[in-house]
Point group: C2
Chain length 197, copies 2
């Protein structure tokens, strides 16, 4: 796994197809590694995604329920949001956790970096673990209709196992925290609270 071959596409020309506040779609005239021409359209996502597993002293995790427009589904997820251009991912997710769930946290740790759909987009997600929570008032944006819940961590994991939680960031983050609790990578009291049924 040591030698990285050269980038296999030769880009002849790039044409912007669409651009808005959130994304830019570009079509590239390329030659593939065999020297044959084809078109490859890629999507630049302008905001990094962020998400957080926020766990209270009782081992419960904050979940947010909302409709997701592109899929027309209702989705239970960990709190998430986009980092504005220039905004640090940690700053963005601290803001989102406060806005969506009314929570602030003493302890923050980045635990995942994800590329969400790497054949078509350059979207990056940064995943965090937060604990030592303080409760305040949620302040959702006008365009958001959010339901809030806090469920025992193993119940959230059971929702992943059952396919009830499907959001990729949430699934990866919940499984990563579960693994950290089982492999001694969390403070002992937090791990105990997380692994309790």
């Amino acid at each position: 796994m040591s030698t990285i071959p050269p980038f296999p596409w030769t880009i002849l020309r790039s044409q912007e197809e669409f651009d808005n506040r959130w994304l830019r779609l570009t079509t590239h005239d390329v030659l593939n590694v065999a020297g044959n021409p084809h078109l490859y359209s890629t999507i630049h996502i302008k905001r990094a995604a962020t998400g957080v597993v926020a766990i209270d002293a009782a081992g419960r995790v904050a979940l947010v329920g909302q409709h997701r427009f592109p899929l027309r589904i209702y989705s239970w997820e960990v709190p998430e949001g986009g980092a504005e251009p220039g905004e640090a991912p940690l700053e963005a997710i601290q803001r989102e956790l406060k806005e969506e769930a009314g929570l602030t946290a003493r302890h923050w740790q980045q635990i995942l970096t994800l590329h969400l759909s790497n054949m078509l987009t350059d979207e990056v997600a940064y995943g965090f673990l937060a604990h030592g929570l303080t409760e305040g008032e949620a302040e959702p944006e006008e365009s958001e209709v959010l339901a809030l819940d806090r469920v025992p961590f193993q119940r959230a994991l059971a929702m992943v196992d059952a396919g009830t939680i499907t959001d990729a960031i949430s699934v990866a983050l919940l499984l990563r925290v579960d693994r950290m609790a089982r492999t001694g990578d969390l403070p002992a009291d937090l791990a105990r609270a997380i692994l309790a049924d």
Copy 2:
């Protein structure tokens, strides 16, 4: 978590912006829940993504290394591919595992459904576990330059922990299989092989 509120957007008009073999981008004129107008562009992804954690008798997992064009990075991942329209996800990933890694498997189980980027796209990924492997010849497509490796499962997990594997489907699938091995949801010999260092 029982009451699902009504869909919060009223769609006034939808305009197709871009369409190719892989995706369609549409801008919707909508009213949000507060009754205020805005534009929401969504991306329909025409192929379901599929991925597989394929584990041999020694507990090693098949990994594929490749450049990912939109990110301009080299990425080690589990074997993945798109289901053609009308193709069942299981059929698609069995074909991809054969093409990319030269492997067929006796035992298949779907273990995850993921929505990869649900604020912008409707892309769905189906994740599988395969074991009972038989080796053959890889048959990559002309446009693919793939490196193949097979590494002990816990070494692949360590690559997730370290942020070396970042592909969302791979991260979620590897963590899910690790959890299944730890919670008694796999055959005992497979779990033992996976959990061995």
